[in-house]
Amino acid sequence: MTRLVAEYLVAGQNGDGGWGAQQGRASSTEVTALATLALARLDTPATRRGATHGLRWLAARQHDDGGWPVSARVDDSSWATALAVLALEALGREPARAVRGARWLLRRLPRAPGAAVSLLHRFAPSTLAVRLNPHLKGWAWTADAASFVEPTCYALLALRRLRRHLPGAAAEERIDEAERMVYDRMCRDGGWNYGNSTVLGAELWPYADVTALALLALADHPQREANQQSLSALRGMLRHVDSGLSLAWATLCFSAYGEDPLPWRGRLTERYARTGFLGESRAVALALLALTGGAEVFRA
């Protein structure tokens, strides 16, 4: 399986050195960062070459402001910056670029709640359509939007690896607040979805992939009740969810929490044989990380 997915990634690398969402698609920062991280875990001429070209693609796409766009076709620096930073830092290459990217992340703020929402949250929180603390800042997908779970988790994973290079108090405060934001968005019985636990009084359900990612991002607090509850929720979800993406994130997550990843790797392998993850390069890259002990990439 490891060889197969590595070959798939090597074969799917674009001429410019990056990877797209599927083979033949324009290169994206997210997939290129993950595929580069994954290939760098193997030591063959083809994977070394692939990772080197991936790193070059990332280095060449960094904006002057320190951030990365989601793809070369989009102008604005984006949420994908966190993954580019993570890749550069974890591979120990281009440290100055990684630090510039991390500083961009620290400057990037989500949209602040308006006065009306602030007042409602303070004096009548039950009247808010969405049950959350709008003042807790994480990261948004785009400029001028609210914080959501997934971009916040990517930023947390990146910043924690870079924290020794960042202004101490500011970085620590931002990390701490973002962690609180993620906990605030947890679903009632554990786990996370895109970022709303309750809308108009109705409880929303968690997603396996986001839950595993959030648990990875909160892995500094393995004994917290919320983490344990969410680990249990994740196991429950995985009784019904069998996709490459969710299984790959889950394998990485369980490894980070000290569980034996072998059974999960087995399911991942079976699934790949059955569906090929529908050709999703991101899932393939994460699977390669999961199969090669890549949870350490996400550790501070």
Partner: protein, 331 residues
């Protein structure tokens, strides 16, 4: 991207906006190139009692009523797949997608592609396999494009209800000869209804706009719906899955409501107006429909030629959230 200031979090604000009935009126906010409103529109309501019947024939009958020039064309079917709820009716039924694939092929198209950019899920493999859509795609050897990750290019807006300067739109759609919106007949807890126009939210790549496409909520849901639909430079057709719809707290957590209808049309505004009437919702009070009815298509009943079944024969009294009770009054 620079956005407007519309807040969406406060229930009171959202309710006020929804109940306002209109609010983006006054001077035209669209460019000449955005105008697509025909003098009259045609909408067909065809009965379909279940997903097990001969849906291919029903869809073919619907297509023939509009005499679309389909031979040799590239068609993109855009169903509505948001999340997987094994007990719910969130998504366009895969059986209808299968029927549409087959019907368009029989009508002589060159290629049918199914494309969607789910608003909440990033786990496309899970969504497709769990909902049964993947089995349909495999059986019918049909390509699926995840619009959330499709290559995209920026287009300048053709109307200006939001403060967005441009929209990134997927190449798959821009290369199509016909884009077929295939929504579920549903109520929507922010927009009142979600039909063929709102379904176009799923055309915008999540990689750029996020999951959910929160930036569009801040820009104004109704405003974004109008701007997306005015800017998409692709001929449109709509097939609404009203065999079983969703009432109450849609688009995710509402309840199933059987309606037994498919709604067809080449004016998506008129289709949505008719579909809303099928739910006993006044389309003139849905802000994006009211505005779209000024230049994109027809909302007024007297400007819509009704084909197939009359609305009254299949109309159902869809339950709505209290904040939308005003939409149920046709005064």
């Amino acid at each position: 991207m620079r956005l407007g200031r519309r807040a969406f979090l406060g229930a009171a604000l959202a309710a006020g906006a929804a109940a306002a009935g209109h609010g983006c009126a006054e001077a035209p906010r669209w460019e000449r190139r955005a105008v697509r409103q025909p003098a009259r529109s045609r909408v067909a309501i065809l009965p379909a009692g279940s997903y097990d019947g001969d849906l291919v024939e029903t869809v073919l009958r619907g297509l023939r009523l509009f005499a679309l020039p389909l031979a040799g064309k590239q068609i993109v079917l855009k169903p509505n797949f948001v999340e997987h709820d094994p007990n719910g009716v969130v998504n366009t039924h895969p059986a209808l997608v299968a029927a549409a694939i087959e019907a368009f092929r029989r009508a002589g198209v060159r290629q049918v592609v199914v494309a969607e950019g789910p608003g909440h899920y990033r786990d496309t493999e899970h969504l497709l396999t769990a909902t049964g859509l993947h089995a349909v795609l495999r059986e019918h050897r049909t390509r699926y494009v995840d619009l959330n990750n499709d290559d995209a290019r920026p287009l300048r807006l053709a109307s200006h209800y939001t403060k967005l300067a441009h929209l990134y739109l997927p190449e798959t759609l821009l290369e199509a000869d016909l884009l077929v919106s295939m929504p579920k007949l549903k109520t929507h807890h922010w927009a009142g209804v979600t039909l063929s126009l709102k379904n176009m939210f799923g055309c915008l790549p999540g990689a750029i706009y996020g999951w959910p496409k929160n930036v569009l909520h801040w820009a104004g849901i109704h405003e974004s719906i109008v701007d997306i639909n005015s800017t998409l430079p692709v001929p449109r057709f709509a097939i609404v899955d009203g065999i079983v719809g969703m009432e109450g707290n849609g688009p995710i957590q509402g309840d199933a409501r059987r309606c037994g209808a498919l709604v067809f049309g080449d004016d998506p505004v008129a289709v949505d107006a008719t579909a809303a009437r099928l739910m006993t919702i006044d389309p003139r009070k849905i802000r994006h429909l009211a505005e779209a009815g000024r230049f994109l298509g027809n909302v007024a009943e007297e400007r819509i030629d009704q084909l197939g079944e009359p609305i009254d024969r299949l109309r159902q009294d869809f339950r709505v959230l209290p904040r939308f009770h005003g939409l149920k009054s046709f005064a």
